[in-house]
Symmetry: C2
Subunit: 233 residues, 2 copies
DNA sequence: ATTAAAAGGTGAAATAATGCAGTTTTTATT
DNA sequence: AATAAAAACTGCATTATTTCACCTTTTAAT
């Protein structure tokens, strides 16, 4: 590697994307992908992919937590999904959308590398098992959000907030106690209700002993009861 | 063709699925698909694919209107999306779900044919352009539902019902006046609110002259005003 | 044609959720 | 360390939504 190479924060040999890719494609083909790839770091709050922009690359998210953010015609934000590394991001557009349908923003410091869509497509078209694997990666992200939608669509706020707490605990932080990466406003944009309603509801759950809220630190004391609230509400 | 062939309601040569397929694959390959395919008719109300069942085939919907129905843990129904022919149905499971995540039911009389997933996959794996085309078909169905979700997630009932009326008028019936294929209960399951709320809101729009409701017949008199309600509410 | 069952509809009380106006706490900046 | 700005929080009035009890109309079954 010449010293003119882009800045490198980590060694590609440690990267899951390389590991997975090389189960399907040859090293020299992966090298073609890598040559076009740039390692990037994003601070909490930064926009990784912008809604409406042309989608020229994916991001393999190696580290961090991101949100899918949709901004509507009135400028109101909605969080469609939250995902943690590792994930292949930006692929909702692979098959049939030229422009990003929503933004992807870091809600914790992130690290990853860009992946050139046309190069990946070219390689994947020549290797359908690899194509399938990439599609799986991409649709995983999408599929995980469908249950959020179902919750949103026919539960009341108690149930929706219980669902989000369970989701964050299980899928994102993998722990009953966690430091929330979202502001109360963002939590509301995820739950589809007002920020005040989030605050009131978290306080209520806290007072009932189901959870403990200390600022951004949340502990699920009684996940079973949360499940019941989710089911009932 | 022998007389032992399955009943045929229509000639495959007229079918869009054949037309599209044969742009990508050879006639003899299509013949392999066709040999495994069965033409089927469904009456309004019939279940085409059942939530939880193993997904062994797609359905190419040639005629009719269907709903995606999700039944939750309490037996409550939610309509995720509504689609009209032509559409390749059941593919949400192609990449990474062994069992149907939701049911697909006819809400008007339907006609179509089954398509064997493993055969289609085998052929598509040997022809990536065809694979891409099929994926486009499949994800179209999915993608169209995302805006319903966005509407559900952060609009109030006025806006959601306005959105559904616009969606049905533009995407399903392609007409400002239509005979609704849904009961009021189903409309509520699509809008994510109570049946009474649907009735009240339709009545209100009717009284304001925005729409005309005569039982199942609905006419959008003032689509621009509906757009405003959608945007505001 | 009669009856039962399902769907459509109504108004009002009870509950849920929002939006406001303000205070307190936290975070970032100089 | 002081200040400003942003986020968190509170209680309450207003608005939205559900639920209920009940009635009417339509549809399906005998």
């Amino acid at each position: 590697m010449s010293t003119l190479d882009h800045q490198r924060y980590y060694n590609c040999d440690d990267c899951l994307f390389k590991t997975i890719s090389c189960q399907y494609i040859q090293k020299d083909e992966f090298e073609k992908l890598r040559a076009k790839s740039v390692q990037l770091r994003y601070k909490k709050g930064e926009v990784i992919l912008k809604q409406g922009a042309k989608s020229t690359h994916f991001l393999f998210l190696r580290k961090g937590i991101i949100k899918f953010n949709y901004e509507d015609e009135n400028g109101k934000n909605l969080i469609l999904s939250i995902n943690k590394a590792p994930a292949l991001i930006g692929g909702a557009n692979l098959v049939n959308a030229e422009f990003n349908l929503f933004s992807i923003c870091a809600i914790e410091d992130c690290e990853g590398c860009t992946i050139d869509v046309s190069m990946l497509t070219r390689i994947a078209l020549g290797n359908t098992l690899y194509l399938f694997k990439m599609l799986q990666f991409i649709t995983d992200v999408f599929r995980s959000s469908i249950f959020n939608f179902i919750s949103l669509a026919h539960k009341q706020v108690n149930g929706r907030i219980a669902d989000i707490l369970i989701f964050l605990s299980q899928n994102i932080y993998a722990n009953n106690a966690f430091v929330l990466s979202l502001s109360r406003q963002e939590f509301a944009e995820f739950a589809g209700c007002s920020k005040e309603n989030v605050i009131h509801t978290l306080r209520k759950f806290h007072n009932e002993g189901v959870i403990t809220v200390e600022g951004k630190k949340i502990t699920l004391n009684d996940p079973e009861r949360l499940q019941k609230i989710s089911k009932h509400g």
